[in-house]
């Protein structure tokens, strides 16, 4: 079972789609964490100047800084391949900056509202901490995605290494065919003619007579040619009717 069949729905991202992902992430995160919050903060500070938080005097600067860091980290995260340590690092960094950004935007959970003789102080810092915990849970998702893709990448890497190793390995000599244990070679023998005669006296039994070989089928020609004039004649003829020459004895049937 390969990785794709084991992970249905998880599509490996190509470099081109990673680039478009990174661009899209940069755009959406800049909108989500910089542009829209700045507009909202502007509206709030203009309509409710009595509302103050600990970060309110410099909140636009903080939003630009932390929003920029989130955008940068998320873009770098998206531009890296899933399952790489860089992607994990940038993903977790972006998450940390999101937590800081949220803490700043929510004023650390303490808001004060002064209107005429009224002064209201609202301390929801515990809820802010719970919200930060909820946001940081996304770290599990980042890590889980990392580990899943890392497994896939490790498989790919191992396969690639194996292939590369097989490409770069020196050509192996062809194994020699195994020699059959046999008697002395003919090459080592004397080329002088000699006769070998069987000697029954030394215990050799004469080999059994070979089975009679079946006679090969010999096509019987219906005529024969005169060796002198080349005329055709019947196999029974003893002399050529054309030139009168005698046919060889073995050609006569």
């Amino acid at each position: 079972m390969d990785w794709h069949s084991a992970n249905p729905g998880v599509v490996p991202v190509t470099p081109k789609s990673r680039l478009s992902d990174a661009t899209w992430t940069a755009f959406t995160d800049a909108l989500r964490f910089i542009v829209v919050p700045l507009v909202l903060i502007d509206l709030v500070t203009k309509n409710y100047p009595q509302l103050t938080t600990a970060f309110m005097p410099e909140i636009k600067l903080y939003i630009i800084f932390f929003g920029g860091m989130i955008t940068a980290a998320s873009t770098l995260e998206a531009s890296n391949k899933s399952g790489t340590w860089k992607r994990l690092l940038f993903g977790l960094t972006a998450l940390a900056f999101v937590c800081m950004w949220l803490f700043i935007v929510l004023g650390g959970g303490i808001a004060q509202f002064t209107y005429g003789p009224y002064h209201v102080r609202f301390d929801m810092s515990k809820i802010v901490y719970i919200m930060l915990f909820g946001v940081s849970l996304k770290g599990l998702l980042v890590y889980s995605t990392f580990s899943t893709h890392k497994h896939y990448l490790d498989d790919q890497e191992r396969r690639r290494k194996e292939e590369r190793a097989s490409e770069w390995a020196p050509a192996r000599p062809k194994p020699l065919p195994r020699r059959k244990p046999s008697g002395p070679e003919f090459s080592t023998m004397s080329k002088m003619a000699f006769e070998v005669s069987h000697d029954d006296s030394v215990g050799y039994a004469p080999p059994p007579p070979p089975p009679p070989e079946p006679k090969p089928f010999q096509r019987v020609l219906a005529f024969k040619e005169c060796p002198i004039c080349g005329a055709k004649a019947s196999p029974k003829e003893m002399t050529c009717k054309h030139c009168g020459a005698w046919f060889p004895k073995d050609t006569i049937r």
Partner: protein, 275 residues
């Protein structure tokens, strides 16, 4: 693997949705007015005066129309006059818990010793109108104490002077004008006193007047009582008026007033007299 990631995503989304709901339901009742504190309006404040003590009662109510119980609601208050002089030491009303959807009513109840203030020289609230400021601090926990709410309210309540005005009414008086006087005795001085309604029902004011002569000092004196609460007057008739007709001509009137425990004195020239 993909199923595991998807499950994790759903779990995180569920937790985050729960957190958002918790945050929203914790915060929303406050700006929306579901949780509100009805402080006393000036016409709801009641004042009573007795033996130099001013007793103030001001009702208020707290409406917990939110989603969670209010915990450990405490109200602290202090009262200042317009010159930021604290009329009382800071006081605390522990209300306790208020279940969701319930309204709790209570009242600010305090008293201050105006006579002591008067004797210490702080006579302003006795003779002039003032503006008392109730500074009310409300603190409580909400959403299982995850949210701390603190608010400070100020309610200004007008204070009417106890003794608004007083003095002789020369047009209703009868005094010698020369030696021997052409005005025949008995001589008298009419006196009026305008006091706050909260003094009504108390024992009447004691007014003692003394005629001061041009050369001989105090000539004679007399006293009367004047009812408290609103605009009242009385007339002091002097004894031995016949003697006064031949001895001296009064040029000043000294008054000694005792009103609801407040005692003070002063001298005013007699109108129309020129030595």
């Amino acid at each position: 693997m993909a199923a595991r990631i998807r499950l994790l995503q759903m779990a995180i989304a569920a937790v985050n949705i729960a957190i958002v709901v918790l945050a929203f339901t914790s915060i929303w009742p406050f700006p929306n007015g579901d949780f509100k504190i009805d402080l006393p309006s000036p016409n709801e404040v009641t004042w009573t005066y007795s033996d130099g003590m001013v007793h103030v009662t001001a009702p208020f109510s707290i409406d917990n129309g939110g989603y969670y119980d209010v915990r450990d609601l405490t109200i602290d208050y202090i009262v200042f006059n317009s010159s930021r002089y604290p009329l009382i030491d800071p006081k605390t009303i522990p209300i306790g818990d208020i279940p969701a959807g319930q309204i709790t009513s209570s009242e600010i109840d305090f008293q201050f010793d105006l006579l002591r203030l008067f004797n210490d020289g702080a006579v302003g609230m006795v003779f002039t109108d003032d503006l008392l400021t109730f500074v009310v601090d409300v603190s409580c926990g909400y959403t299982m104490d995850l949210v701390k709410f603190e608010a400070t309210y100020q309610v200004s309540v007008p204070w009417d002077a106890l003794i608004r005005s007083y003095g002789p009414d020369w047009s209703g008086s009868h005094l010698p004008d020369s030696i021997p006087s052409t005005n025949l005795p008995p001589y008298s001085v009419a006196y009026w006193l305008n006091t706050s309604d909260i003094l009504a029902g108390l024992p009447p004011a004691q007014v003692t007047l003394t005629l001061i002569g041009n050369t001989t000092g105090a000539l004679m004196s007399g006293s009367t009582t004047i009812q408290l609460g609103g605009d009242n007057n009385g007339t002091v008739v002097f004894d031995s008026s016949a003697i006064l007709q031949y001895t001296d001509v009064p040029y000043a009137l000294r008054y000694d007033l005792r009103v609801a425990g407040f005692v003070w004195t002063g001298t005013v020239p007699i109108q129309g007299w020129s030595p």
